[in-house]
Symmetry: none
Subunit: 76 residues, 2 copies
DNA sequence: GCCCATTTGTACGTATGTATG
DNA sequence: GCATACATACGTACAAATGGG
Protein backbone atom coordinates (compact mmCIF):
# COMPACT_ATOMS: atom_id res chain seq x y z
CA UNK A 1 0.00 0.00 0.00
CA UNK A 2 2.42 2.63 1.24
CA UNK A 3 5.97 2.67 0.02
CA UNK A 4 8.37 4.17 2.57
CA UNK A 5 11.27 4.08 0.14
CA UNK A 6 9.62 5.71 -2.86
CA UNK A 7 10.11 9.33 -3.92
CA UNK A 8 6.59 10.31 -2.88
CA UNK A 9 6.30 11.65 0.68
CA UNK A 10 4.37 9.38 3.03
CA UNK A 11 1.81 12.05 3.90
CA UNK A 12 1.09 12.50 0.19
CA UNK A 13 0.77 8.76 -0.33
CA UNK A 14 -1.66 8.52 2.58
CA UNK A 15 -3.72 11.44 1.31
CA UNK A 16 -3.97 9.79 -2.10
CA UNK A 17 -4.93 6.52 -0.49
CA UNK A 18 -7.78 8.10 1.43
CA UNK A 19 -9.01 9.87 -1.68
CA UNK A 20 -9.03 6.52 -3.43
CA UNK A 21 -11.11 5.05 -0.62
CA UNK A 22 -13.55 7.93 -0.94
CA UNK A 23 -13.81 7.58 -4.69
CA UNK A 24 -14.30 3.84 -4.30
CA UNK A 25 -17.28 4.58 -2.07
CA UNK A 26 -15.70 2.90 0.91
CA UNK A 27 -15.66 6.21 2.75
CA UNK A 28 -18.92 8.03 2.22
CA UNK A 29 -19.96 11.69 2.38
CA UNK A 30 -21.22 12.68 5.82
CA UNK A 31 -19.44 9.75 7.40
CA UNK A 32 -16.16 10.00 9.31
CA UNK A 33 -12.90 8.68 8.01
CA UNK A 34 -10.85 6.56 10.44
CA UNK A 35 -9.40 8.52 13.35
CA UNK A 36 -5.84 9.72 13.37
CA UNK A 37 -4.86 6.97 15.81
CA UNK A 38 -6.57 4.38 13.64
CA UNK A 39 -4.80 5.56 10.51
CA UNK A 40 -1.54 5.55 12.41
CA UNK A 41 -2.02 1.92 13.30
CA UNK A 42 -3.44 0.86 9.94
CA UNK A 43 -0.54 2.26 7.97
CA UNK A 44 2.22 2.25 10.54
CA UNK A 45 2.74 5.98 10.38
CA UNK A 46 3.54 8.64 12.94
CA UNK A 47 0.85 10.98 14.21
CA UNK A 48 2.44 13.99 12.58
CA UNK A 49 2.48 12.27 9.22
CA UNK A 50 -1.21 11.40 9.43
CA UNK A 51 -2.10 14.94 10.51
CA UNK A 52 -0.13 16.24 7.56
CA UNK A 53 -2.13 14.01 5.22
CA UNK A 54 -5.43 15.16 6.73
CA UNK A 55 -4.37 18.79 6.38
CA UNK A 56 -3.78 18.13 2.69
CA UNK A 57 -7.24 16.59 2.33
CA UNK A 58 -8.83 19.61 4.03
CA UNK A 59 -6.94 21.94 1.73
CA UNK A 60 -8.11 19.99 -1.28
CA UNK A 61 -11.71 20.02 -0.11
CA UNK A 62 -12.18 16.31 0.50
CA UNK A 63 -12.89 16.35 4.20
CA UNK A 64 -13.95 18.55 7.06
CA UNK A 65 -12.46 18.26 10.54
CA UNK A 66 -14.56 18.60 13.68
CA UNK A 67 -12.37 18.84 16.76
CA UNK A 68 -13.26 16.32 19.44
CA UNK A 69 -15.41 14.30 17.05
CA UNK A 70 -13.70 13.33 13.89
CA UNK A 71 -12.91 14.05 10.27
CA UNK A 72 -15.84 13.83 7.86
CA UNK A 73 -16.06 13.22 4.14
CA UNK A 74 -17.62 16.20 2.38
CA UNK A 75 -20.34 15.83 -0.26
CA UNK A 76 -19.15 16.38 -3.81
CA UNK B 1 13.95 41.33 8.90
CA UNK B 2 16.00 38.28 8.02
CA UNK B 3 18.58 38.41 5.28
CA UNK B 4 19.07 35.04 3.58
CA UNK B 5 21.98 36.33 1.55
CA UNK B 6 24.01 37.95 4.31
CA UNK B 7 27.06 36.46 5.97
CA UNK B 8 25.23 35.79 9.24
CA UNK B 9 23.64 32.32 9.51
CA UNK B 10 19.87 32.36 9.54
CA UNK B 11 19.62 30.62 12.90
CA UNK B 12 21.89 33.30 14.39
CA UNK B 13 19.83 36.07 12.82
CA UNK B 14 16.65 34.56 14.21
CA UNK B 15 18.17 34.15 17.66
CA UNK B 16 19.23 37.80 17.65
CA UNK B 17 15.79 38.83 16.47
CA UNK B 18 14.10 37.04 19.33
CA UNK B 19 16.51 38.54 21.84
CA UNK B 20 15.65 41.94 20.43
CA UNK B 21 11.95 41.21 20.92
CA UNK B 22 12.65 40.19 24.51
CA UNK B 23 14.70 43.29 25.22
CA UNK B 24 12.00 45.42 23.67
CA UNK B 25 9.53 43.95 26.13
CA UNK B 26 7.45 42.40 23.41
CA UNK B 27 8.25 38.95 24.74
CA UNK B 28 8.06 38.94 28.50
CA UNK B 29 9.60 36.75 31.22
CA UNK B 30 7.38 33.85 32.16
CA UNK B 31 5.56 34.10 28.88
CA UNK B 32 6.08 31.82 25.87
CA UNK B 33 7.78 32.90 22.71
CA UNK B 34 6.05 31.97 19.44
CA UNK B 35 6.11 28.24 18.73
CA UNK B 36 8.58 26.65 16.36
CA UNK B 37 5.86 26.26 13.72
CA UNK B 38 4.82 29.87 14.19
CA UNK B 39 8.38 31.12 13.81
CA UNK B 40 8.77 28.92 10.76
CA UNK B 41 5.81 30.61 9.15
CA UNK B 42 6.59 34.12 10.35
CA UNK B 43 10.12 34.08 9.01
CA UNK B 44 9.86 31.51 6.26
CA UNK B 45 12.45 29.22 7.78
CA UNK B 46 12.81 25.47 8.06
CA UNK B 47 11.99 23.69 11.28
CA UNK B 48 15.60 22.69 11.85
CA UNK B 49 16.76 26.26 11.52
CA UNK B 50 14.25 27.50 14.09
CA UNK B 51 15.21 24.70 16.47
CA UNK B 52 18.83 25.66 16.03
CA UNK B 53 18.02 29.25 16.95
CA UNK B 54 16.08 28.17 20.03
CA UNK B 55 18.97 25.94 21.08
CA UNK B 56 21.22 28.98 20.91
CA UNK B 57 18.82 30.98 23.09
CA UNK B 58 18.72 28.18 25.65
CA UNK B 59 22.49 28.02 25.70
CA UNK B 60 22.68 31.75 26.21
CA UNK B 61 20.16 31.65 29.03
CA UNK B 62 17.36 33.60 27.40
CA UNK B 63 14.69 30.96 27.34
CA UNK B 64 13.66 27.64 28.82
CA UNK B 65 12.03 24.90 26.81
CA UNK B 66 9.16 22.83 28.20
CA UNK B 67 8.36 19.87 25.99
CA UNK B 68 4.76 19.71 24.88
CA UNK B 69 4.04 23.21 26.12
CA UNK B 70 6.34 25.79 24.73
CA UNK B 71 9.48 27.85 25.08
CA UNK B 72 9.43 30.43 27.85
CA UNK B 73 11.33 33.64 28.42
CA UNK B 74 13.43 33.42 31.57
CA UNK B 75 13.53 36.24 34.14
CA UNK B 76 16.72 38.27 34.09
C1' DG C 1 -22.13 19.10 37.23
C1' DC C 2 -18.43 15.59 37.01
C1' DC C 3 -15.52 12.10 35.35
C1' DC C 4 -13.75 9.52 31.47
C1' DA C 5 -12.71 7.87 26.86
C1' DT C 6 -12.10 9.43 22.27
C1' DT C 7 -10.46 12.62 18.98
C1' DT C 8 -8.29 16.52 17.09
C1' DG C 9 -4.78 20.44 17.91
C1' DT C 10 -0.40 22.03 19.28
C1' DA C 11 4.35 21.61 20.64
C1' DC C 12 9.11 20.10 21.39
C1' DG C 13 13.00 16.39 20.54
C1' DT C 14 15.42 13.77 17.41
C1' DA C 15 16.93 11.66 13.18
C1' DT C 16 17.74 11.15 8.20
C1' DG C 17 18.38 12.53 3.43
C1' DT C 18 19.46 16.04 0.18
C1' DA C 19 21.46 20.25 -1.55
C1' DT C 20 24.55 24.20 -1.48
C1' DG C 21 28.70 26.96 -0.66
C1' DG D 1 35.15 17.75 4.53
C1' DC D 2 32.16 20.87 6.94
C1' DA D 3 28.47 24.16 8.17
C1' DT D 4 24.18 25.70 6.84
C1' DA D 5 19.55 24.94 5.41
C1' DC D 6 15.40 22.60 3.83
C1' DA D 7 12.02 18.67 3.82
C1' DT D 8 10.40 14.71 5.76
C1' DA D 9 9.36 11.52 9.45
C1' DC D 10 9.04 9.34 13.95
C1' DG D 11 8.35 9.87 18.98
C1' DT D 12 6.44 11.92 22.92
C1' DA D 13 3.84 15.20 25.66
C1' DC D 14 0.33 18.41 26.85
C1' DA D 15 -4.11 20.92 25.60
C1' DA D 16 -8.91 21.43 24.08
C1' DA D 17 -13.39 19.78 22.46
C1' DT D 18 -16.90 16.32 22.29
C1' DG D 19 -20.06 12.86 24.02
C1' DG D 20 -21.57 9.18 27.13
C1' DG D 21 -22.54 7.56 31.65
Amino acid sequence: MIDPDGPVPLYRQLADLIVARIEAGELQPGRPIPSVSRLQQEYGLARGTVLHAVAVLVEEGWVQVVKGRGTYVLPR
